[in-house]
């Protein structure tokens, strides 16, 4: 492609549709951040396609002045796979919630990650079913009281990051709905990655699960209870940057810096290692025993699915000068005979 870099503004990416999320929903902040990030990518908006499934988050495409497809529950990875394979030049984002992506669409999620299609997945995790009005989700966890778990949920939670890493995800990151700059930077980094990028966005549902992430990533708690993963850097956190994560045997532990413990004793993040062991270890950190890790857990290069497919088509067309052979050649393969 010989396109010139296009400079868009957030307004260019705002459709004429009225946004219908509940007032105060975390989705508003995500929409704003994604629009800002996409406007800065230098690509024309007609090459942007946003695909979603079903759920509150899945209304996202209607609010984007791009091409958009609001498909059916759980299936956005499959729809997006068809879009990207049909036209690898398109830039494709998937938007879905924890129910859409991890429950009904869990199978498609792991397989798009395994194939490494060059798309970005924005997984809005609010740990609840919002659109169906308040049932527990696959990320809610044990004991959660909801309309469908009046005595407490007996369903253990999925961890989206661990699941994505387990499925072979080549770019796996976490950000937070209200962390504007962080969210924009993460979305931009995901787009720059060639392959499937999954971003878990911790998102507040103001109606059915208000404040679920506040103790870890809320305005007051963020510095103390979350930790930003930076490739090659030691794992330091805390308002006073006085705490860190150390590997003890096969387990992580929180340590105070000083008193004989220096940054050299801390674990260093390695997002680029061929093995996903370090990212997996990071993903095991859960609040309140650990700070919540944010940023990029893993980023490695692998061939993308659609490019591998294009190479096969290219190879198959070598004998026909890169074009489709005449249909007569197809029809006349094998044994033929003439009746006169």
């Amino acid at each position: 492609m010989s396109e010139e870099a296009v400079q868009l503004t957030r307004k260019d990416l705002t459709s004429d549709q009225e946004v219908r999320w509940c007032p105060g929903c975390g989705d508003y902040a995500i929409l704003k951040g994604v629009q800002n990030a996409l406007a800065g990518l230098g690509i024309p908006r007609e090459q942007m396609v946003v695909v979603s499934g079903i759920g509150c988050a899945a209304r996202f495409p209607y609010y984007m002045e791009t091409y958009g497809f609001h498909s059916i529950h759980g299936r956005s990875p499959a729809v997006a796979t068809g879009v990207k394979m049909a036209n690898p030049d398109l830039h494709v984002w998937l938007v879905g919630g924890d129910g859409d992506m991890m429950s009904i669409g869990g199978n498609h999620l792991i397989h798009i990650l395994r194939r490494n299609l060059d798309v970005t997945i924005l997984l809005f995790n609010n740990r609840i079913y919002g659109l169906t009005k308040g049932q527990f989700s696959p990320t809610s966890g044990l004991g959660v009281l909801t309309k469908s778990s009046p005595m407490g949920s007996i369903d253990p939670a999925f961890d989206p990051i661990g699941l994505a890493l387990g499925a072979g995800g080549t770019f796996v990151a976490r950000t937070v709905d209200l962390w504007g700059k962080h969210l924009e930077a993460t979305v931009a980094a995901a787009h720059a990655h060639k392959g499937t990028a999954l971003i878990e966005i911790l998102q507040n549902c103001i109606i059915f699960n208000d404040g679920t992430f506040d103790p870890a990533v809320g305005k007051k708690a963020r510095d103390e209870n979350s930790i930003e993963l930076v490739h090659g850097e030691p794992l330091v956190f805390g308002t006073d940057r006085n705490k860190g994560i150390r590997l003890n045997g096969t387990r992580l532990e929180v340590v105070e810096l000083g008193d004989g413990v220096s940054e050299d004793d801390l674990m260093r993040h390695d997002a680029h290692d061929d093995s996903a062991i370090v990212p997996h270890l990071m993903a095991t950190m859960q609040y309140p025993d650990f700070p919540v890790p944010t940023g990029i857990f893993r980023q490695v290069d692998r061939p993308t699915y659609e490019q591998s497919m294009e190479e096969q088509v290219h190879m198959a067309q070598l004998r026909s000068e890169g074009k489709k052979p005449d249909l007569g050649a197809l029809f006349n393969q094998g044994d033929t005979w003439v009746v006169s």
């Binding site: 609001h70 997006a80 068809g82 990207k84 049909a86 398109l90 249909l327």
Partner: protein
């Protein structure tokens, strides 16, 4: 025939117009290969042919068992051949189980060729024979030809530098050689094929060729058969032919249509019997721009096809009954977003897992109605293996022209069966224009073509035409989400009417026989050959019987109602409990009768002839 060269045998040569042969044995006996070789050779000598492979669901069922018997039946002849035949004239049974399973179908007086080496006590027990049927009067109604094929094949290959196991595997070619002699067929096609297939293993090729020739010469010199037969060339329309299975013809029809439309074909598919060969065939057509996704499940397969169509490809998915059930919601999405997509359902015995390797026509109602909401979509059906090409082409033409998903029904009988296909001139194929909209001026995503009611197809990547589609109800014209009650009623009507517009786009109904009379048979799908053969035989006997075979199951042909009213009685034969029958009774208030068969097997011509008699003169 005076032009025939004199045969070296002293056995008399009889000329016959058509013959049915059934090869049967264990899955590992090479039965399908033997049948295919006989088919191709017979096609090359100018006969018309129809075949039916009949294999067990198990890949390699335990040897010698009844449920492990694999069969291949073909009919070839000097006249137009439309079915693989009701009753074989010849049965080649490689073991007792194959004999037991198939002997009752053999025409009384027909020829049964057995490999005596396989009739061991153990194999007889496995087949449930208490005594050896070759040595008592079990087979007295047939001409029994006992040959120790295993021993003679080993003897012929005793000096061949290959393993005994490989020598024994050549026994099917010995048997094929015998049958080639019986029907006066040349060996060269199979010899060439073997030499090509085993070009890197010349010893194996040579051994197989030797087994083939030894079988031929053995039959000749030992005068195994009381007489031999010649089957003259059939009067076939001039042209270049090849043998195709229904699945291969479907694949070529889809690719041809996409290439004529100048768009790429995308197939999303999850392997399922008996549709998998479609995936295999299309995966092998990358040069023609075909991208295939072996999806993680049936739902992903259809959704990826929808995504591909959205992005400007021809999205296709191939499946069978259980998979179609899983695709229902997504097919509703495709008709809501009004994009092209072809869903091929290669029907098999149901319900549930049912009879995966057997044929049935029991998916018609799920095809017509198996989605939530008012969700009409065009349903078309192929009638023979070669016709799958035309049906697939028509499916693509309609899906692109009307921007609606189309369901193409074939079945296991068509998919695996084969017949000669007259290869079309690519330049003669009807034009298909995807007519992508690229003009932003006045663009409305749900504005409609006044003739077809199709909405515009706009590829992502087209500047200044960004828009959103989805499964929520659309506002007329703008395509915005709409919950308006008046709009919903209107949009449901538009989607219905758009599909009905296809009635304006159909060739005239083809009626076999008169346009009025005592009895009209109405069929669809793979029953065409048997119905037509039975109707022609009834007509030859002076009966006032006609038939019509439906390409379009929805919408129905606009002239069908008038045609039905010109007959006293209507009979609808189907391999189900009366699915088209229900539709016709509802649509035309006609007191039609059904003929139902749920056996995993096609109708025989005899069954249809009897049903015609019963409907004309019986209780009906």
């Amino acid at each position: 025939m005076s032009t025939e060269p004199p045969s070296p045998t002293s056995a008399p040569i009889e000329q016959v117009s058509s013959v049915v042969i059934r090869f049967a044995g264990d899955s590992g006996d090479g039965v399908q290969l033997t049948g295919n070789q006989f088919t191709k050779t017979s096609a090359l000598v100018g006969n018309d042919i129809s075949t039916l492979p009949d294999f067990p669901a198990e890949i390699r069922a335990p040897a010698g068992t009844l449920f492990g018997v694999s069969g291949f039946q073909l009919q070839f002849g000097a006249t137009e051949i439309r079915t693989p035949g009701d009753t074989p004239d010849v049965l080649v049974a490689f073991n007792p189980a194959a004999l037991k399973v198939n002997i009752d179908r053999l025409r009384k007086g027909g020829l049964v060729i057995v490999n005596t080496a396989a009739f061991s006590t153990r194999n007889l027990q496995k087949a449930g024979y208490e005594s050896n049927p070759l040595e008592d009067d079990t087979l007295s109604a047939w001409q029994l030809v006992k040959v120790d094929i295993t021993k003679m094949t080993r003897e012929a290959l005793k000096d061949a530098p290959i393993k005994t196991k490989d020598k024994d595997r050549a026994k099917n070619l010995f048997a094929l050689g015998m049958v080639y002699f019986l029907y006066d067929r040349p060996l060269d096609h199979t010899v060439n094929w073997l030499e090509g297939k085993f070009s890197k293993k010349p010893d194996i090729a040579a051994a197989n060729v030797k087994a083939l020739k030894t079988g031929y010469y053995y039959a000749e010199t030992a005068e195994v058969f009381r007489s031999t037969y010649s089957v003259p060339e059939a009067p076939i329309k001039a042209g270049t032919y090849r043998n195709v299975t229904g699945n291969l013809a479907t694949a070529m029809g889809l690719v041809a249509a996409a290439q004529v439309a100048d768009i790429n074909l995308f197939l999303g598919s999850y392997p399922i019997t008996p549709a998998s060969d479609l995936l295999h065939a299309l995966a092998n057509m990358r040069a023609h721009g075909v991208r295939t996704l072996q999806a993680e499940d049936e739902i992903a397969a259809v959704c990826s096809a929808i995504g591909a169509s959205y992005a400007g490809n021809l999205g296709v998915c191939s499946t069978s009954g259980p998979g179609l059930a899983l695709k229902g919601e997504a097919m509703g999405l495709a008709l809501m977003v009004e994009l092209p997509m072809v869903v091929v359902d290669v029907q098999r015995g149901g319900p549930s897992t049912g009879l995966p390797t057997k044929t049935e026509q029991s998916d018609l109602l799920i095809a017509l109605y198996g989605r939530n909401g008012e969700s009409p979509l065009p349903v078309i059906a192929a009638r023979s293996p070669a016709d799958c090409f035309d049906a697939a082409y028509e499916a693509v033409r309609i899906t692109i022209k009307y921007r609606t998903p189309v369901l193409l029904l074939t079945d296991g009988y068509l998919a695996n069966g084969s017949e000669p296909w007259r290869i079309p001139d690519p330049a003669s194929l009807p034009g298909i224009d995807p007519n992508f909209l690229t003009e932003p001026e006045g663009f409305q995503p749900y504005a409609r073509d006044p003739e077809t009611l199709a909405r515009p197809w706009v590829k992502p990547g087209t500047p200044h035409m960004e828009h959103r589609v989805g499964g929520l109800e659309k506002d007329d014209l703008t395509g915005n989400v709409s919950y308006d009650p008046v709009n919903h009623h209107k949009m449901c009507g538009l989607r219905r009417d758009k599909v009905l517009r296809i009635q304006n786009d159909m060739p005239p109904l083809e009626v076999v026989g008169e346009q009025s009379g005592d009895l009209l048979l109405i069929g669809w799908g793979g029953t065409h050959g048997a119905i037509t053969t039975a109707v022609e035989s009834a007509r030859a006997a002076g009966k006032s019987v006609s038939s019509v075979h439906l390409r379009h199951l929805h919408p129905l042909h606009p002239d069908l109602g008038d045609l039905i009213r010109r007959f006293d009685k209507v009979l609808v034969p189907e391999l189900n409990f009366g699915q088209l029958l229900k539709v016709l009774r509802a649509e035309y208030l006609v007191d039609a009768h059904g003929l139902h068969k749920m056996a995993g097997q096609p109708f025989t011509v005899t069954e249809l002839e009897q049903a015609i008699e019963a409907t004309l003169y019986g209780e009906a």
